[in-house]
Symmetry: C2
Subunit: 359 residues, 2 copies
Amino acid sequence: MVSIKDVAKDAGVSPQTVSNCINNPSIVKPATRKLVEASIERLNYTPNASARRLRTQRSNTIGIGIAPVSYSQVYDRFLHALVTEADANGIRVILYKTDSQQDEIRQFDALRARGDVDSFVLTDTTHDDPRLAWLHEHHQPFVLFGRPWGADDMNDPATPWVDVDGHYGIAEMTQHLILHGRKHIGFIGWPGVSGTGMDRYAGWRDAMLGARMAGPDELEQLYEEAKNDILSGQTACIALLDRRPDLDAIVCVSDTLAIGAATVLPSDTDIIITGFDDTVSARSMGLSSIAQPLIESARHIVRITQEQFVAPAAGRAGNGTGGATGSGGTSVNRKPDAIVSAPPTDDRHVLLKPTLVIR
Amino acid sequence: MVSIKDVAKDAGVSPQTVSNCINNPSIVKPATRKLVEASIERLNYTPNASARRLRTQRSNTIGIGIAPVSYSQVYDRFLHALVTEADANGIRVILYKTDSQQDEIRQFDALRARGDVDSFVLTDTTHDDPRLAWLHEHHQPFVLFGRPWGADDMNDPATPWVDVDGHYGIAEMTQHLILHGRKHIGFIGWPGVSGTGMDRYAGWRDAMLGARMAGPDELEQLYEEAKNDILSGQTACIALLDRRPDLDAIVCVSDTLAIGAATVLPSDTDIIITGFDDTVSARSMGLSSIAQPLIESARHIVRITQEQFVAPAAGRAGNGTGGATGSGGTSVNRKPDAIVSAPPTDDRHVLLKPTLVIR
DNA sequence: CTGTTAGCGCATTCAC
DNA sequence: GTGAATGCGCTAACAG
């Protein structure tokens, strides 16, 4: 392994100057800098991460959990987006298992104690989530992907989150259908009190009521619940059509349910089925769907993570001289205000708009 | 952060003794050991990973890639299994992006140079895979999940792999159907020369020929190709039934295709559809499927990874005193011979048997 | 602007 | 069996 000393020797400078070239290039004379950079290139030098971490007491690593069975169809795409954005900022992503919320807390504790991570990304937050309590208690930085439904601290700066506006997405889709002449639009949603599910349901409800396509009493007829699997989608669709044979469109809370619904439609039907998440399956079936801005979400998550260290609780941080992206990495000059496309726009709570994919 | 010195002070011993208690407990007197362990417990001490890595020049970390779009429906389950097995052995898992094979090589290079990773886990190996060439050239340890199809080094100890026997799984499923009276069994496979796809196809073919359920000439009629999405599964199923209305079962190379096939069957049909991977969707649809032993796969991958460092190219290593699993972690005393359930049984090439899930 | 000194936390020599 | 040194590779203080 080639170390900073080798580079120093090769360039005829001190190790310190090499370090400066990497971490604080502006303070070193351009001439010597060129020299050093040439040596770095020639020797193919890369700073040792462990040594740097030991010295700086920062891991430049974020941890994210993986459950035994995936939360959703988009989780792997989200992981890819997160890793991509992290990589562009010189940050690594460590994976840990989450067999349960308690298990996840144990992982927090271990990773934290070993100094393996700076911050965590949590998904699937629940009411009174014990993980949040633990993280707060231990002053452990984190960012939620998904809002802390049911928690009081939705706007607490100490509970940063990034989420996609399901209400908006479903409402837009419903309005799109209305605009294209659909008059009787059903909805297949998830049972229970999942915040995400209720939010999406409300999108359909509000769009329907807003366009006066149904009275409050009629909504119930147009609504069916289903567990998130294909068979349940089929069953729900059949039940819905049985009750309301006049339906000309069904908005589904997920692509999985949409596929279930679509596969039990009579072959000569005109009924439109729509889903959520724009999965490969929906695409192949020609179903309209709603795409989450995963890359943008990941970008905000990484940004917030970074900011937690430069400015523990305040607003934006100047781009300053602190950037330590040794190699690669796109520019970090971002204008969050231009990215955040919906209210809550304080920079620790970001609600992003999904986009309709009409097929 | 509590360090080894704090523990030493608390226990009234030298830092060295504390280190020994952790890494080489046998050489320290039981009495003092108890003392130290009590202090460790009391102070909730955990060794700093970066410091240890810097000292030992081992990261105890394996890297695994995540593609923009998932290789398969089981990838996240595999990730969970891998993380679980790694965790049980005191190993962490780092995630990196793989937008292409070339991109993955860049990641190898970066992670390796920074000392972030000891070993890599690769999936989706292709013919003349440039990643393998790079890894070999740089003497970078790795393990494949999936065989190196088309490569000459299938049995090369320097190219360790763990895979699931698709041929066996599909053949077993086909035989199961035959045993239960099915006489005309079709197959929907993937197009192209994917090693995995051809292996599974061969399983069906060999089972059919072996049971004399079809002559070599008839096989072609019973076979249809489809891209791995639901619509293609539907189309293929229709084409197959159109050509051979007498079919009473269709074996599919994946659950996705099986779901496509199942959703276009007439409602009064008796035709059995089977899939591969035992996904939630297949389960919900009541389809028989073939489950990969992901945990066992992950276990072997982790084991091989470990062995690459204790015994670079030879056989088994004694359990010795080298184990450095500070916390948690189940026993590492395994008998691979009892686990490996199919030939290639040299311990660097493991072919595992999947299990039928009959519904 | 550059070089020297020191130490992050740990594990591996060696003395004792 | 235990304690005292040394250095892994790097960067944050200083001194020049």
